[in-house]
């Protein structure tokens, strides 16, 4: 089962290697991994999406990661607890008469065109993984030359200012474990 972990880690050389190693040595493929600095100085927040972890083993990885010296906090991201988003960049080369349709798609999908060159266009969008899957499908007729997906990033809904309904925009309940 696809499982998403969000970890707060020390921003230091080798920390990703330490995390990834816990999955690698159990022969688990990491589908996506994002990491960048966060609101806390010296720390980074990382989102790890791993494949084929039995539901009964999901907590195990939380504890295994917590045992790492450079890992400060780990959450198992669930549908109800987190908002999960993904960024897509697509370089496309549509036939000239279809360029207008691309613009329409951008509008419809809340995406935008970052570059509108004579030989190619660069399209950007963000959303849930499911929305991005659909978008990539929609882009296919426009001749995708290069596709880059950021992998998922997740943020927990909990926090003092959270007045929103438990389900965020564009989110479906089975999104995370899909």
């Amino acid at each position: 089962m696809k499982t998403t972990y969000v970890a707060l880690v020390r921003d230091t050389a080798g920390v990703l290697n330490q995390i990834v190693n816990q999955f690698r040595k159990r022969n688990i493929n990491i589908e996506s991994l994002t990491v960048a600095q966060c609101e806390k100085p010296g720390l980074s927040r990382t989102t790890i999406v791993a494949n084929d972890i039995e539901p009964s083993r999901q907590d195990f990885f939380v504890h295994i990661l917590m045992n790492l010296v450079n890992v400060v906090e780990v959450e198992l991201a669930s549908d109800s607890s987190h908002i999960v988003r993904e960024n897509v960049l697509a370089k496309i080369d549509p036939p000239p008469k279809k360029r207008k349709e691309v613009k329409e798609l951008a509008h419809k999908s809340q995406g935008r065109l970052l570059r509108n060159g004579s030989s190619s266009m660069v399209f950007e969008a963000a959303g849930t993984a499911k929305e991005m899957d659909k978008l990539v499908g929609d882009l296919e007729p426009f001749n995708i030359i290069e596709l880059v997906r950021s992998g998922r990033v997740a943020i927990s809904k909990q926090g003092k200012d959270l007045t929103l309904s438990p389900t965020g925009p564009g989110e479906s309940q089975d999104e995370l474990s899909r």
Partner: protein, 583 residues
Amino acid sequence: MTEKKTRITGAEIIWECLIKEGVDVIFGYPGGAILPAYDALTKYDDRIHHVLVRHEQGATHMADGYARASGKVGVAMATSGPGATNMVTGLATAMMDSSPIVCITGQVPLSVMGTDAFQETDVTGITLSVTKHSFLVTDVKELAQTIHDAFRIARSGRPGPVVIDIPKCVQNEAVSFNYSNPPADLSVHVVDGAVTEEQIRLAADLINTAEKPVILAGHGVLLSEAMTGLKQLAEQGSIPVSTTLLGIGGFPSSHPLNMGMMGMHGNAHANNAIQDADLLIACGMRFDDRVTGKLKTYSPHSKKIHIDIDRSEFNKVVPVDVAIHGDLKQVLWQLTPEVTSRNRGPWFKQIKKWQASIDEVEILNQTSDEFMAAHAIRIIWEETGGNALVVSDVGQHQMLEAQYYEHNKPRTLITSGGLGTMGFALPAGIGASFAVKNKDVWVIVGDGGIQMTLMELATVVQENVNIKIAIINNGYLGMVRQWQEMFYNARYSETPIYSPDYVRLAEAYRLPGYRVFNKDDARKTLNEVQRLDGPVLIEFVVEQHDMVYPMVPTGANLHDMIRRPNGGQEKNKGRVIEKRPAK
């Protein structure tokens, strides 16, 4: 506070910090990338004793043996490249058995790192999977803090090995060093337990309503120093105790509630009790496959309480009903007062019945004048009054030691359990002997295992280490032979093993050597060598064909044990190794 700042080199900082951490002995081997540290040692060797090993693997096992015997952190040192890679087996051994050691390795200078420089290896990368943590120190200003952190990580929570890789240029660099200001206790986080009253109540309820409970005592009992707490819990609730291999000594062997070791070569009545129990109370143990047998049928009717300092152990292999994350000693303090005393007559009667059935096939009760490994070990137990600190290697003799040497005190058995590292015993015994000055240290090792690290005999002599080395020579890689006999139709592929003349070998190393062929000789010789101060080597030439019973084959149900045949073991199925010592 007076600030006393002096400029000293990274190399000197290493020794300053080790002394601050209370280190007075270190096991190591010099080389190019660690030369600055060794040079600086000349200023500190009145406060730290350096033991020159013969192989860096030995240094790690010595640090490990020292740690297990003393409860303190053991320290080893090596150069970069081959020195560091030689440490990997020792690190993995310490990792598997939660032993706190710190290994300091030299590294090539930062200026050439990553260029395949002479004797460069990616030490932090290589050791990633076999350490609790590995540090690469790139700034001499961080060295003191790193060393402090390394010790803290090694001994905190679930202990384990830590590597500090220090480039030569960092050792050479001078920096102002503040003697009076010890590093802060936290640039690393340490996992502490969080025990709730609710968990204690749930556990106590399970214990108080159980008819057939069993306590499973693991290495955590020793690591947490929870021996007294364990005894109180067992006595308070009238609960029989079985230990893992590494849990031996955590509960007195002579205690009427002790059923002895569990698992693959555990006591039949202990295994039967575990299988039949309605409650298991797992204390600082991790349900290793060598103690559970087939998981599907493992203790099928029992509820399970698991107390451990490492949360990742809960439900890892055996699902548990109540998991208590915390320091065992403290958890037991909280738990035991909630446990009501119970009469468990029928349960003990049943266990007695199982026990009677093992006595029938007990090798010590069989009348034969054959000299078996079990006899040799029993005689060592008798002659040492059960008071030695025993360091056993890996194989049949290791299991026989666990069965026939009774340990009443903690930290009197040191052995490589999780990794099963042959060659561990001699160096670990050397290390242990630096931790216990008032105890006899006995190394019990097979003819296979001794040949893996026998170069350390030179270390024994150079350091005049007071250890007694008992080589159980059965002419075979006995434990593998046993599997071949049982599961590979007695095809003894590559298990007969030739040994040197150990008595002459001892002589070559200039240490007293003895060879014994029978029980009477063994007793006489042991009596004699015990009076000798300093190292001694004794070879016990024993029968080749004996096996360790009972045995739960891998993947079999824990209760389906192969038992010792009542008429004794069939003889000489295999090729007899030529050039065995002649009587």
